[in-house]
Amino acid sequence: MNEAAGPRRNPFRARSLVSAEDVSREDLLWILDQAQAFEGVASGERVLPRPLPLEGKLLALLFFEPSTRTRLSFESAMQRLGGGVLGFADAKISSSSKGESLADTVRVVAAYGDAIVLRHPLEGAARLAAEVAGVPVLNAGDGSNQHPTQTLLDLYTIRRATGRLDGLTITFMGDLRYGRTVHSLATALLHFDVRMQFVGPAGLKLPDDLRQGLLASGRVAVEVTDLAGISATDVLYVTRIQKERFPDPADYERVRTSYRIDRAAVERFGDTLKILHPLPRVNEVDADVDAHPGALYFQQVRNGVTVRMALLNAVLAGRGI
């Protein structure tokens, strides 16, 4: 808790979370502080006192795209807070397969739940949903655009591991163009005094408009196509090179090994290096990296429940812990 500043009003109460751009530095720090209060609950080390804060609340999960971590962690978070969940994890079993518009689906589901978690293949779907739902909408990924709750857990993981968010050098590696977790996290990091470095194949560089904004901020230090071009970093944020994005499979084969890290590749950054990955990984992080003291990707998974508990509690209960 930020006791020095005194209790602060809940900035997430009854509010949608669509984009990292919608969240200020103060709001980010507030929710990360809130998440600390839920430490240990996700792992079962602690049980929240009863009555649980979200008893009687229902969370609707609308996943029009596959998801393992995000969907299950929202379910886990909601149930640990005493609430219930409903929804679908496959668009084929929703009325969208009958031609129903997203806007109509969202309006209907808003009548069944107190908030909606939405994942959709089209960019902007969450913004549209938030404007028609009448209940808070939490964006769980809209195409290649944004994934703001992943960003919250990424920031939480970084701060938990390093003790800070300012003064860090953070290197993004992999699919910079389509990776929504990259876009969200880089956007949120503009609120902090960081250096950002980007490593990605020529065809998968940052979208131009995002890149221009980052460059204008003065926080982008390096853009290279090979990790060998990076001399130092505090955090290495690796994403999967998405094979399905390459029109020519030969191009994918050419680059995929360049974006594969093993223990030897990360040793040169020292023991204090923190390695994050939103998962799933395919082959870009060798299993021998898992034993590195800074390999945090499975910690991220656990933190995902912790942070989503804090977010759901803030959005639905309207009070801080």
């Binding site: 518009s101 997203l102 806007a103 293949p121 960019e123 902007g124 549209l128 655009n145 944004q146 408009d209």
Partner: protein
């Protein structure tokens, strides 16, 4: 309300209006686009001047429409075609109102998002773009957050 003033015409008296609208200072080469955006001609006479000498721009296009007063949505569309386009309302042969068009800060329903995987391309939803920077502006899609340059915005004007 400004004092009505006589129409000035570099095209000669034959092109003067009795009642209607003059769209002036269109960038040279955009008159045909303006006609398309305004779905002209409709009922009344329309006269078009292209590459008309202009002290301000060197040359310009002009569209004069008899018997028509443009709506705000139509003016917003026209504003995207160039800078300092003027629209004059003519009554009884006199200019009764004149305005320089400005692109609104929020452009609604008249641009198509160039991102093929934007939700506005898949759903029946009106587009909203936020104007950014100085002329030639950039436009940010309210939904998918992609930004397009002013030239791209002109190309993506919904007909």
């Amino acid at each position: 309300m400004p004092t009505p003033e006589p129409q000035a015409s570099k095209l000669g008296d034959a092109f003067k209006l009795r009642d209607g609208t003059v769209v002036d200072h269109l960038p040279a080469g955009t008159a045909a686009r303006a006609l398309g955006l305004l779905k002209l001609p409709r009922e009344g006479p329309v006269t078009v001047g292209m590459n008309v000498p202009s002290t301000r721009h060197g040359k310009k296009d002009i569209v004069r429409v008899e018997g028509l007063v443009l709506k705000k949505a139509e003016l917003d569309r026209l504003a995207l075609l160039g800078r300092q386009i003027t629209v004059s309302i003519v009554r009884g042969g006199m200019v009764t109102h004149k305005q320089v068009l400005e692109v609104p800060e929020q452009v609604e329903g008249i641009l198509i998002c160039p991102n093929p995987t934007c939700i506005t391309r898949g759903e029946s939803v009106s587009t909203v773009f936020h104007r950014q920077g100085d002329y030639p502006y950039r436009f940010r899609c309210h939904h998918c957050e992609r930004v397009m340059a002013g030239e791209a915005a002109q190309r993506s004007l919904a007909q």
